[in-house]
Symmetry: C2
Subunit: 210 residues, 2 copies
């Protein structure tokens, strides 16, 4: 089963399946029919069947889906069985919040270090890690096999920092800076633009009134 | 010009246009051709023309787009000229980070209060606002014309808190809890599921290697 054959639309729905399957697992549920999964997720049963058929026929007529198996398979497709070492650049409130999310470890994302350009932040301990100065960035990345950097810095600094990260081999950037980064083809960026999300809420509220 | 006629796909691209136009404004640029905007945003000029034609013909052949005007119009469509009063429920790192984002005020989103169930957080000052106990939630919402609640609490508490919010008239929920909320038709939820975003990055990194 090759992930390459799966459309981006399906891929973007997989984390949500993974999340619901994780809940079912936590509740001790071993199997679920596509009809029940459909009610739970507010997605049509036909959509679920189509999505899951894309990467193998996990369901059996009259049996439904094996929760554990489907959870593991989706996790595998999403690459969650690969270990990733992260650094967080920008140790403000948002960077600290992300450093403290223990759930990321469960999914194979291990935060190894935090960096900040503010001299007052140097040495502050966050989840047993000292905040490090930006001057140590390159050495730390090389010595700790870091492959993902989380950018929780103002947009003004984001381009320069991203270039430094890419120059020393970072392949994945989880970008919270309010800017779209220009990166080479062999680097992947996933943006979390909080203001964009808030604007969509604003539009939908206006639409509700109108 | 009615927002109702605009497809969700276009709507979801509008915040990005708004962001780029804001940058151009800040740089003092008064007009821009669709070709230049296309290069800047890495979107085809034809896509830009189609998107912007959806809500009026702002461009003129040989002149391009008036940056100020387009910025204002997109802001209007997105409802950014409407004032919204927010509360943040959950005053941990993430809630504090959001409370401190001054850019939200610029877009009409004003944080009026923070709430937390942790007794140790009561009275802690965040951006000149005291963290309030959950017992004050309903009165505060009514007395301060709150229409949006930001949920930065663990998923276990999210459903109950959302129900309390909706019961006293909250129409918009910006949900950071790792759960999909069931809400009535007249309530709008915008989710920021950080783990889903990280999983997409994971998939794209795996795809890069494979």
């Amino acid at each position: 089963m090759e992930s390459k054959d799966i459309s981006q639309a399906v891929i973007s729905r997989l984390p949500r399946y993974h999340r619901f399957l994780s809940e079912l697992k936590d509740q001790g549920i071993e199997r679920i029919s596509s009809a029940d999964l459909s009610r739970l997720m507010h997605v049509t049963a036909s959509q679920i069947r189509q999505d899951l058929n894309n990467f193998g026929g996990f369901g059996q007529q009259g049996y439904g889906y094996n929760v554990d198996y489907l959870y593991e398979e989706i996790g595998h497709i999403l690459g969650l069985d690969t270990r990733h070492n992260l650094i967080i650049v920008g140790a403000g409130n948002l960077g600290q919040a992300l450093a403290n999310y223990v759930n990321f470890d469960r999914r194979g994302f291990h935060t190894k270090g935090l960096f900040d350009s503010d001299p007052h932040m140097q040495g502050v301990m966050i989840r047993n890690m000292p905040v490090r100065p930006m001057s140590e960035l390159e050495d730390f990345i090389r010595e700790n096999s870091i492959d993902i950097a989380v950018l929780t810095i103002p947009k003004e600094a984001a381009e320069d920092v991203a270039n430094r990260l890419i120059a020393c081999g970072i392949k994945g950037i989880w970008n919270f800076a309010h800017i779209d980064l220009d990166v080479p083809d062999n680097v992947r960026v996933e943006n979390v633009h909080l203001s964009d999300s808030l604007m969509k809420l604003s539009y939908n509220l206006r639409d509700l009134e109108g």
